[in-house]
Symmetry: C2
Subunit: 434 residues, 2 copies
């Protein structure tokens, strides 16, 4: 009996999961490797970071999602290297996995434009641990302020800076402002919570720079209504324990959150591949590595342009479309079909929320803003969540917040909020006993 | 103007929160100190440890619970010592808080009968961090087993030992057995999850030794139906990295959970008070420290007997009754009333669940077991949860588990699962900047 074609997928984000999904029924066996045991719904990660949702409401065990697919083996493991010539993936315990086809969908991490030391002061938001760390950081700042008697220190504790005015930055700043000015209202005795400052700093000349201009203007206005101070055209030149420096201004702030830049995972290094300036692998129009048609690189790990020459954005729908394309091409090859067209990205739209009753929504033929956009945003995201139960619970939380304002997940639980800030997010525990 | 009488409450568990609750309307100001920012619904902690519920579904921010009580100041802080002669509480940063009346409701931690080193191998379940640690430990054991090729090691990874057959031990063992034999069914490719062993070890001659004998027998039977191996009359003599030793038997197990004994918090040391064998403070019939009528010690921190000479049990209803009594006595004194009767404990009943469709329920005039008891147990617990939203979400999870079987909170998120095992659960972050 001929051995089944072996597809190894690294990364169970939107790209990896879609690849596995669309390989259903193909005559292959699949190994899916991820360093976490869950698939994360990243677009709602900022809500976990701001105590709106619980981590388990936006993440699902990979094994459970794929339990009915007996041809898929899921491994909780960290990839250390790849030998593209001998078609091997090396795991952190020196275990080796051979592949016939490899799909790399390892995503991205935040980047600090060459100032990696800023990571200590300005955590970014990419994995679930980031969200619980940031949630803890925000909630503890208020607790410390309540006990602080020095007025200058107290003001620094009550100053929250978000660096970067893209969708994540706008959403973070909006929800922190609501947390301070509405949710926590009346809960403290020594501090005036209304004096909390939320400052959003963006280097470009408008927030949501990738959106249409009128939507940026609307978002800007909505942020200011929520009490967010927006600083435009001001690149940050320093982040440290005291605060942030931008445009020759120094702002004392104990909480700085980073939403300004990303860089791809180390996949390019494993492949020794050509990359762009943020380490994304340059790929062929069929999403494969040049010279290695058996290696796909998709999602935030890769860079590719659409037909108009514009770069495919690093968002969930793009990764999903690429995962689907990779799966279809793998199937086509197994059936010796050679008529697959190159990958073509379809942009369905742009979405961002600003607090709990405003949003911008642009799907080309329809633009919306305000409450209607918020409802459309909500419905779209509920639709894309996995599982009926999660949809019900998240919808209920949102309706609750919408009408009542209080949040459900305001727990300070982690003892050491530095421990998970590093890249190596796989628990030591899982490394094989030596 | 005369300064208001200052009541300091240490601990925001059932006892402390009830005290604050029943002081409503009294002419006092209150400071409530806890080392966590949340009030925990401890009776459901085992469900967070076994991935049935999310941490935020069984815990609520203390500030939020008390936000409408402007006379209450909530402090996230750790108490280091007390000067009962000068009526002072010392916080971890040397801050001092003076009181007129002190209520100590600091609870208990697990105890290892003098073998503290067992804590490294057999974590117990008292605070929220314990639950996420244990959840991680259980889920990682399965992940490691899936990657383990040595059959003996694999068997040890798939062997879960629960030490102690009281309600917590019975509930833990039952839910782990269901997790392994039902929830995870079909999700692994290399291991036979049905071969998972769950062993419950109890030193007494029956499980639930504090319950009526017929209920113990029923629980024993229900556990065995779920596939739990119950070992009775066998005290554990050793816990280490390889497993557990009891009755001259050595059992290889990588996961050992401790539900066998508790000891009171260090409150007795602060007070230099007389204690029983598990460090509980011996108190007067009015719940105060002998010689110090201004110091109340309630809940698991204290020991007291009811009218029949039987010790008041360390359960939530007892702590709540004591909190209510302390508040009423404080009010009576402020009004110069001296006719308060001694504290009288009313035992409303015993409850325990064994897996998702069996329970025992004994409220004196009514005993139930089986499905009816499970529903009564569920309704009772939903009733005692705080907040309409939590009631809805938890009820929905339970009905889901009841009818569908899958669990909602199977995340492995903490990187370092040792870090929070120590006593000092207050984040370093909150310690005042020096």
């Amino acid at each position: 009996m001929k051995k089944l074609h072996h597809v190894v997928i690294v990364g169970a984000g939107f790209g990896g999961i879609q690849t596995a999904h669309h390989l259903k029924g193909a005559n292959v066996r699949i190994t899916l490797i991820d360093q976490h045991n869950y698939h994360l719904f990243q677009p709602l990660l900022y809500q976990a970071a701001t105590a709106l949702l619980a981590p388990s409401e936006i993440a699902w065990p990979i094994r459970h999602l794929l339990r009915k697919r007996s041809e898929i083996t899921t491994l909780l493991a960290k990839v250390n290297d790849i030998d593209k010539f001998h078609k091997k993936v090396f795991l952190e315990n020196n275990e080796t996995i051979e592949y016939d086809t490899l799909v790399l969908a390892t995503g991205a991490r935040h980047a600090y434009f060459g100032n990696d030391e800023w990571a200590n002061y300005a955590p970014g938001l990419k994995v679930l641990e980031d969200a619980t760390d940031i949630r803890q950081k925000i909630l503890i700042a208020f607790e410390k302020a309540e006990r602080e008697t020095d007025l200058e220190h107290r003001a620094a504790l009550l100053c929250f800076v978000v660096v970067g005015g893209g969708p994540t930055g706008v959403e973070l700043a909006g929800t922190i402002a609501e947390l301070a000015h509405h949710t926590l209202s009346g809960e403290f005795r020594n501090i005036d919570i209304q004096k909390t400052r939320v400052v959003l700093i963006e280097a470009a000349s408008r927030v949501l720079p990738s959106f249409e201009e009128s939507l940026s203007a609307y978002a800007m206005n909505a942020l200011e209504k929520l009490g967010v101070e927006v600083q435009l055209g001001k690149p940050v030149s320093e982040c440290n324990a005291l605060g942030v420096v931008f445009d020759d201004t120094t702002l004392s702030a104990k909480t700085i959150l980073w939403a300004a830049g990303v860089q791809a995972s180390p996949a390019a290094n494993w492949l020794e591949a050509e990359t762009d300036h943020v380490n994304r692998v340059k790929i062929e129009p069929d999403l494969t590595l040049p010279g290695h048609p058996e290696v796909f690189v998709i999602g935030d790990t890769a860079t590719i342009s659409d037909e108009s020459g514009k770069q495919v954005p690093g968002i969930a729908p793009a990764a999903k479309q690429q995962g689907q394309y990779a799966a279809k091409l793998i199937c086509a090859r197994l059936q010796n079909k050679t008529n697959m067209k190159p990958f073509r990205y379809r942009h369905y739209g742009d979405l961002a929320t600003i607090g709990k009753r405003a949003a911008v929504f642009d799907i080309g033929w329809m633009k919306a803003r305000g409450r209607l956009a918020w409802w459309l945003w909500g419905i779209a995201h509920i639709y894309f969540l996995i599982g009926v139960r999660n949809r019900i619970v998240v919808a209920m939380h949102w309706l609750w917040i919408y009408f009542k304002g209080d949040r459900g997940a305001r727990l300070i639980t982690q003892v050491d909020n530095q421990s998970s800030a590093n890249e190596n997010t796989i628990p030591n525990e899982i490394k094989k006993d030596s």
